[in-house]
């Protein structure tokens, strides 16, 4: 069981580290902002150009941030469920070991002729 827990902890640490290391920094290119602002102005022609650019930048940044949130949440759920399963297995094993101990103690206490 200990080997399983170590494997789980190492895998989880690797996953989190790699996800943090490789996540692209939140930031959007000027090109994307321009395109989004143009799209916004097509829908809402009365919006001034500055406001449209600000709105587009905010929207794109929020969208990118949320993508990272979903990525981390999904992997967190994955490891969480695996961890929960390992925990239930560990409890089951501990219960069995305790019972085995209890049973062997019963046998040791029993008088010689009643054993076997």
């Amino acid at each position: 069981m200990r080997a399983a827990w170590i494997a789980f902890a190492v895998s989880f640490a690797v996953c989190t580290t790699l996800a943090f290391m490789t996540a692209a920094p939140v930031g959007v290119s000027a090109e994307d902002v321009r395109a989004e602002a143009e799209a916004t102005q097509t829908i809402n022609p009365d919006l001034p150009a500055d406001a449209a650019i600000q709105k587009a930048a905010d929207y794109l940044e929020k969208k990118q941030r949320s993508r990272l949130t979903y990525l981390f949440s999904a992997y967190l759920v994955l490891w969480g469920l695996l961890g929960l399963y390992l925990y239930t297995l560990a409890r089951k094993q501990a219960r069995i070991e305790a019972e085995l101990k209890r049973l062997s103690a019963l046998w040791e206490d029993a008088p010689e002729d009643s054993v076997g």
Binding site: M1, A3, A4, I6, A7, V10, S11, V14, C15, L18, A19, M21, T22, A23, A24, Q64, S66, R67, L68, Y70, L71, S73, A74, Y75, V77, L78, L81, L82, Y85, L89, K92, Q93, I96, E99, L100, L103, L106, S114, V115
Partner: protein
């Protein structure tokens, strides 16, 4: 080194390799960016879940035919893995759906049939947890065989009823090569995790059975 330790080391290495490839070497998908990286493990867990369902049915059938107790332990362990993996697939899928399609859930055929499969294996585990002795093994084997009917229904659901979110089966063959390699490595890693979990669970089941028989002997003595 015990077999369990070896299994843990192999599955850790496989998961490490898969995560390294997915996060460090695979390019970002143009539309979905980082959230697309959910895909590799989501799909791998889905395929492994199908395998776990089939193993449950086959091992159950083998138990009914030959009465081999190990086969029953394997069936039980595999059904637990199938339920766990189905939960992972459903939940990771929800995050992916939210990031890509702006919805947490919708009732398209793949999702609906997948939820039905999840419920069926929950029923299997309930049955198994509440029966005792030989009846438990027999009944669980019958249930496992009946439950396996859901595998083709989930797999072909898009082909049969169409879908808005999921692609049809076999679409992975049309993907970019780098994505295919990433998926293959992730699948191998999840398979290792499945094998390790099965071995661990089957060992606990065997110990439980030994304990049960010891108590019975004690009761008779």
């Amino acid at each position: 080194m015990t077999k369990m330790q070896a299994g843990a080391i192999v599955s850790t290495l496989a998961v490490f390799a898969a995560l390294t490839v997915v996060f460090m070497f695979l390019p970002l998908e143009a539309e979905m960016l980082e959230s697309q990286k959910i895909f590799y493990f989501h799909v791998s867990f889905a395929f492994t879940m199908f395998l776990a369902c089939i193993v449950t049915a086959v091992a159950g059938g083998y138990y009914l035919a030959r009465g081999c107790e190990l086969a029953d332990a394997v069936a039980g362990a595999s059904a637990e893995a199938a339920f766990l993996f189905a939960s992972i697939v459903l939940l990771t899928g929800m995050f992916w759906a939210r990031s890509s399609w702006n919805v947490w859930w919708n009732w398209e055929p793949r999702l609906t049939s997948m939820l039905a499969l999840w419920a069926i294996y929950a029923g299997y585990l309930l049955f198994r947890a509440n029966a005792r002795g030989e009846a438990r093994r027999r009944l669980a084997s019958v249930y496992g065989i009946a439950a396996c009917v859901m595998v083709p229904i989930v797999y072909y659901s898009i082909k049969l009823w169409g879908g808005l979110m999921h692609p049809r089966e076999g679409t992975i063959f049309d993907m970019e090569v780098s994505m295919q390699v990433g998926l293959l490595i992730s699948f191998a890693a999840v398979l290792c995790v499945y094998a390790a979990l099965m071995a661990l669970r089957a060992r606990i089941e065997t110990a439980e059975r030994r304990l049960e028989s010891l108590w019975q002997n004690e009761g008779r003595g």
